[in-house]
Symmetry: C2
Subunit: 404 residues, 2 copies
């Protein structure tokens, strides 16, 4: 029997997953330094599906203000087919009006031409500063370089992961290997992470043969409990995009359960990597809520706690200040019994029936991981978990100094 | 003709308003150091209405988790009458279960006894750490001292203002003098300021003769555009309370318009003082939204921007990063035309029709006050203004180090 393995490079002792996105058969990638980033770091990438199938599914930002590449990629994915994804970092191509749309369209068409594809099979993703026009001379030259530099080895996959980084400090790759088929992914995202999607770009590749319906269902289920419950700072970007491409090159058609499980593993790994690399993070905080009417209300309550700056500052200070949990959750639009709320920090009761538990102020929160469990006392079946971080000096520093 | 004057002590050149709360005829106050605060600073106060009338109105926190003193003061104010307000700082008496209720009740009853009043005419207000029982020995002794130390001069009024401070760095007093009558107030509040009320305790006194209906209407209208639109960090406290007492000692019965105007002036002054003294503030940011369906949607949009940490960090950095305004407002539950949004910083256009305006990156935001004007482009009559602050290192420092 094959034992499935998940590789998450940020967890100590796990093997690295260099080249994850090109590990499934029939995918190639390329990266280049087009000069969009002032830093001179790599800033363009391309991931290409060589077939034989071109099934694709995607989820996009729910922000009403969305970037030109999101507009175009939504059109591309509408028919459930995608053959290539073009990325650039250093510039979000958001809030650039008609010129932004035209630039994204030109990049899409040029990449399609160089790859011998229809424009409508090429998605485009951008991340970086909002409100600056793309430097199209550099983008055009970059596309030429990318189209000539495709390769399916690990180095090409990892180079693509590096080229989509913004304030990320490490590349984010994830790989799931199953019996004869695999799923690989690259992602980026460290701030502006919230509601519907963490601020992120993700490309997932698999050589399994998966129908559109099965792929969409698996992606929807996986994002609901991973990226959609990762909430670093309550902000949702203009550019969030997750695209999954399946090409059937392995000749294997997994069951829906198998696809669900593999995609969930991939998304969980990337979400955890993003949480660990979040801007200014010194703590990973996992907030679980129960004891309310339904899962939606539990999620609302967990988000409300996870977005409360006073709570987040207390976590930064390793301060078991459970009063801030109650003050925050009391504003949530969720059923609760205000006199029967209980809170545990790292498994230790700090508040029982909305009052302090003995020893509550002495709970040790000095470690990197903090679990906060809240029972709203209303007795319903609702449960939800949200992952967030503390609010640190470094978060303020990064986001006041970096125009992004 | 009498020219009305508003005194706001934090605005340079304005006269101080020492003793504002005892300036209206027929009010006395006292303060003491009961030993509740570890710092040894004053921590209990009493404001007493000596009549002849005892009309009162109040607004309280909308947090579902509210403190024991809020529960009791709601009962007191239910009949529209209040003769005294007992304050303590250093301990919020929130989330203390049945013992918290019993302690607040005992303090109320003891104060009433010492003042020769019915318990149901004495409101109680607490502010400070959540989840610690009140040190009742100290509270009892403090009440004795307060009841013996009442005075109606300026020193007694200002001492009360000082004794309700927590992380406030300055006392907050406001005074409006009209033709033969006056309105005075003390307030505290510097953090956990948001949605329905800024986190605050406020006592307003007036020697005008005002009916319950008129007082309630004026208070409701004034808080809607002052405390309720002051949003420092999106957090709403368990203890927010604003109580107004009118005693008719001046013999003057002002019109509703006159009461409205005076109460609005008082609340505006205190709200501005709280914004200026907000935890870690380096910028006062005023966000005005128009161009949406109605005022409620404009308010929702302004709040969404004012709570966005990325936007607030940009303000701290004096960075005219208008893209963060668009990214934030795109998540607001408000009607907008995502391609017709306009933004001005300090009156200068930085974004027109959802794209950057010439010179947008060069706008000077180095001053203390920043005005952000947003037109959502949907053409409706909705308008709203929210006052907030930047998100600074000092905010993180104060709230990670201070268990409050």
């Amino acid at each position: 029997m094959h034992i499935p393995t998940i590789h998450t490079p940020l967890i100590e002792g796990e093997p690295m997953t260099a080249g994850a996105v090109t590990t499934p058969k029939g995918f190639s990638a390329a990266a280049t330094t087009a000069g969009i980033k002032p830093s001179g770091n790599p800033d363009m990438a391309l991931v290409v599906n060589e077939g034989p199938e071109f099934t694709a599914a995607a989820v996009f930002t729910r922000n009403k203000v969305f970037a030109s590449p999101v507009k175009i990629s939504r059109e591309v994915l509408a028919d459930g087919q995608c053959k290539a994804v073009l990325f650039n970092s250093g510039n979000a191509n958001a809030c650039n009006g008609a010129q932004g749309d035209a630039d994204a369209r030109e990049a899409q068409e040029l990449a399609a031409e160089r790859l011998g594809l229809e424009a409508n099979d090429v998605a485009v993703c951008s991340t970086g500063l909002i409100g600056e026009l793309l430097p199209m001379d550099k983008v055009r030259a970059g596309i030429d370089t990318l189209a000539r530099g495709l390769g399916s080895d690990a180095a090409h996959g990892s180079a693509a992961a590096e080229a989509i980084m913004t304030t990320d400090t490490v590349t984010k790759e994830a790989l799931v290997e199953r019996d004869g088929w695999a799923v690989g992914a690259i992602g980026k995202g460290v701030g502006m992470m919230a509601p519907s999607l963490a601020t992120m770009l993700v490309a997932v590749t698999t050589d399994a043969s998966i129908s559109n319906e099965a792929l969409e269902e698996a992606l929807r289920k996986a994002t609901a409990v991973t990226f959609n419950t990762l909430d670093i700072d309550g902000a949702t970007s203009t550019n969030d995009t997750v695209i999954v491409m399946a090409n059937g090159a392995s000749g294997i058609t997994p069951s829906q359960d198998e696809v669900d499980e593999a995609l969930l593993s991939i998304c969980e790994s990337l979400a955890k990597q993003m949480q660990t690399d979040a801007e200014g993070v010194t703590k990973r905080v996992t907030i679980s809520v129960r004891g309310t009417a339904d899962d939606a209300q539990a999620l609302e309550a967990a988000r409300t706690i996870g977005r409360d700056n006073l709570f987040k500052c207390a976590m930064f200070g390793s301060d078991p200040n459970w009063g801030r949990v109650l003050a925050a959750v009391g504003m949530a639009d969720a059923e609760m019994n205000p006199e029967k709320i209980s809170v545990r920090f790292n498994g230790q009761p700090v508040c029982v029936d909305s009052a302090g538990a003995p020893g509550a102020r002495e709970v040790d929160l000095s470690g990197v991981d903090i679990d906060v469990d809240v029972d709203l006392g209303a007795g319903g079946p609702g449960v939800a978990t949200v992952r967030t971080t503390d609010l640190s000096h470094a978060y303020v520093e990064i986001n006041s100094a970096y125009s992004s």
